[in-house]
Symmetry: none
Subunit: 230 residues, 2 copies
DNA sequence: CCCTTTTTTTACGCCGTCTTAACGGCGGCG
DNA sequence: CGCCGCCGTTAAGACGGCGTAAAAAAAGGG
């Protein structure tokens, strides 16, 4: 799973840029659509992992956009809207939206609700979290790794590390981020833990542990996980 | 499926009655808990389909309630709160809540968000009742196990454990999940129970109990049940 | 009330995992 | 050239989780 792709359907350029910047800063890939018609098309063509949709669109009602996407896709949909009336919220949610945020909103809350949406996605699409590294098949949800028939045993910490890297596939994950995620904030500077475990993971996953092709070092910053291309 | 059961965790009796009435009017079954501790216990004992939790509880922080439930159950959790600060929302959502509604709220919106939560739930239900492990045939609904002609006797707790593992066939089930499901949330750290019963189950089900092929240990995490392939 | 089955409790030894420390290579920089 | 920071590599010891057995307590059934 590469970095999740999020579709933004929003007509006001200013808010669109703001959303794009906020999401991109978190490492998400972003697709933008300025109108409702465009949004439905982009949802179909780009196949994003989820969508953030403004209700107040000029060309096509937001609820209609939701219906058209829901007709063929169960992707998480978060609605943004200036309308605070209860009727609007109910209509949008019953049309198939998964969340409804009223403007003005905080970036932190938006990002938190995006994380919730992606969490739902991850659980409904079990097995979508399998990726291949060289000859190695890796299924994070099933906690299962194998090279052909032989299965590879990974310890709890090894799984946590791989999971953290896989959630930001292709992106650099800092030492501190990995350490706080796995060992807690108290060990956020014990980088030697990482050196030991990265070595072990390479031994188990890489064809040539000395010249890793998937578990890469970013000197002075952190590590990065690269999967095979299709 | 019968009418969905919803757990309400709310300390103020007035709001609690109001929620109960609103939900009951829609045909939902309702379970009430006046405090956080009580809420965690009722979540485990009544096994509701989802929970509505107030953050401002006197005895236990709402976020802590969420964490304890999330430790073993993926049930949808909707948070109600008077706190409008963004920090509170982010903390609750990241702790595992699926939605966050600020007071005062409209009944219509609450019900709409409940429908969203139940919609999510509906998409993650599965379970085949009869499965085979090696030479052993296992029927969870009939509570019946047999190896060829000889039938194998299993005790109530052994069935509960197997059922819990079978519902997540192929996936890891954590110690905590198994313990809260079978013994309740008060014994969520008595992992020695599991060791004893897994041993017994292996003795009864596995061809070679010392080298189990179906009832597998995930060290430091939990256990996993593997059925035969077709 | 007694016997059987089931559950809970306790104890112990083994083995995998984590932690910790030490050493060597590589590259940058003064 | 020598120092220093960062990383990889290895190995050994500490620690905790796990399996195993068996006895004590509780529950169930006649």
């Amino acid at each position: 799973m590469p970095a999740p792709a999020i579709l933004i359907v929003e007509d006001e350029p200013e808010i669109r840029r703001f959303l794009r910047a906020s999401l991109a800063a978190e490492g998400y890939r972003v697709v933008e659509a300025a109108g409702g018609e465009r949004g439905v098309i982009d949802a179909a063509s780009h196949k994003p992992d989820m969508a953030i949709i403004d209700l107040g669109l000029p060309d096509l009602d937001g609820v209609e956009v939701i219906r058209r996407i829901r007709a063929w896709s169960p992707m998480p949909i978060v609605v943004l809207s200036a309308r605070v009336q209860e009727r609007a919220k109910i209509d949008a949610l019953d049309a198939g939206a998964d969340d409804y945020i009223t403007k003005p909103f905080g970036v932190g809350e938006l990002l938190a609700r995006v994380r919730v949406a992606l969490r739902h996605l991850a659980r409904s699409a079990q097995g979508c979290a399998v990726l291949t590294l060289g000859g190695v098949r890796l299924d994070l949800t099933k906690r299962h790794a194998s090279r052909g028939q032989d299965q590879i045993h990974l310890t709890p910490i090894e799984f946590k590390l791989l999971g953290c890297l896989a959630r930001h596939l292709g992106l650099v994950v800092t030492h501190q981020h990995l350490l706080t995620e796995v060992w807690g904030p108290t060990h956020s500077s014990d980088t030697h833990y990482l050196r030991v475990y990265m070595r072990q993971l390479r031994e188990k996953l890489e064809a040539d542990p000395v010249r890793p092709k998937h578990l890469l070092t970013e000197i002075g910053v952190g590590y990065r996980l690269l999967a095979d291309e299709d």
